[in-house]
Every structure is written in C-alpha cells, then in structure tokens.
C-alpha cells in the first residue's frame, strides 16, 4: 500500500499523530504544498503512483 501524505500547511501535533498512525507499516511518501512555488508536476507524479493520497490541512 503506497500512501502519499500532502501537507497544505504546517501540520499540528494532532495531524502528526494521525499521520504516524495511518502511515505505520506502509510505503509512505510526502509532499509539502506549503512552499512558495510547489512543483505541481512532481506532486502529480507522486499522486498517480500512490494507492491513496491524503491532503492534510
């Protein structure tokens, strides 16, 4: 199971805890949207390769 965690803002402690539980034992990638110029093409390559994408707040 390939999981992609995308962050729209800096994760809170609760978000970090949920990510930890959901990600345990899975093949995990992450992507930070909370930057000045996100590489959307690179994001999509990861989305297409993942079985599930979660866009955290």
């Amino acid at each position: 199971m390939k999981l992609l965690n995308v962050y729209r803002s800096a994760p809170s402690d609760d978000t970090k805890k949920l990510v930890e539980i959901v990600s345990e034992g899975r093949d995990v990638e992450s992507f930070d949207l909370n930057v000045e110029s996100p590489d959307y093409s690179a994001l999509l390559d990861k989305v297409f390769a993942a079985d599930q994408t979660i866009c955290w707040w």
Partner: protein, 104 residues
C-alpha cells in the same frame, strides 16, 4: 463495493457543513463517517440534528473527541488514536476546510 470515507472536522466554522457533506456521500451509497475533533458545537437546529440522524440511519456515524458533543448531541466518543486506527480502513480521507490552531 461501497467505498468508505471519513471527514475530519477540526474547525467550528466548517463542522456542520462537513456533516452535511458526510450525509451527501452516505446517500450516494458510501459508508460515510464524520470525526469532530477539538471543537464544541453550539445548540443545533432541527435540520442539523436530522443530518446527524440520517448519517446514522445510512450506516455511517458521527464521532467526536469532545465530551460536550457526546453529551449534548449524541455523538459517539472517540480518541485521536482510535480515529487514526479507523482511518487506516478508509479509502477516502478528507481533512475538511482549514485548520485552526486554537482548540476552542
């Protein structure tokens, strides 16, 4: 096979609409769950109470980490860790709206 979806509702300004969206997917024949985290809801209108009841009638559920929501609105008590474990079984996870840093 019906998909399983979960709405994570952390912001008081978004929670009631998130429950409406939860119902919206329940009526689309999905298993739809709402998780109200760290925000206490005020008195609910009949419309919003019915939305919660309908989610339940359609084999979904509205959970909350907040005791007042459990006592006042009949939501099912859940911890953050339990939410995390449930999310592992869902196909679609929806961190809804925007995050608010305070825990009011």
């Amino acid at each position: 096979m019906s998909k399983k979806v979960g709405f994570l509702l952390v912001n008081k300004e978004y929670t009631l609409d998130g429950i409406r969206s939860t119902l919206g997917l329940a009526v689309e024949n999905m298993y739809s769950y709402a998780y109200v985290m760290n925000n206490e809801l005020p008195d609910l209108s009949d419309y919003h109470k019915e939305n919660i009841e309908w989610v339940r009638d359609m084999e979904g559920e509205v959970y909350s980490t907040v005791d007042a929501n459990v006592e006042n609105h009949g939501m099912v008590k859940i911890t953050l860790e339990e939410i995390g474990k449930q999310l592992r079984d869902l196909e679609i996870i929806i961190p809804y709206g925007i995050l608010r840093s305070d825990k009011s």
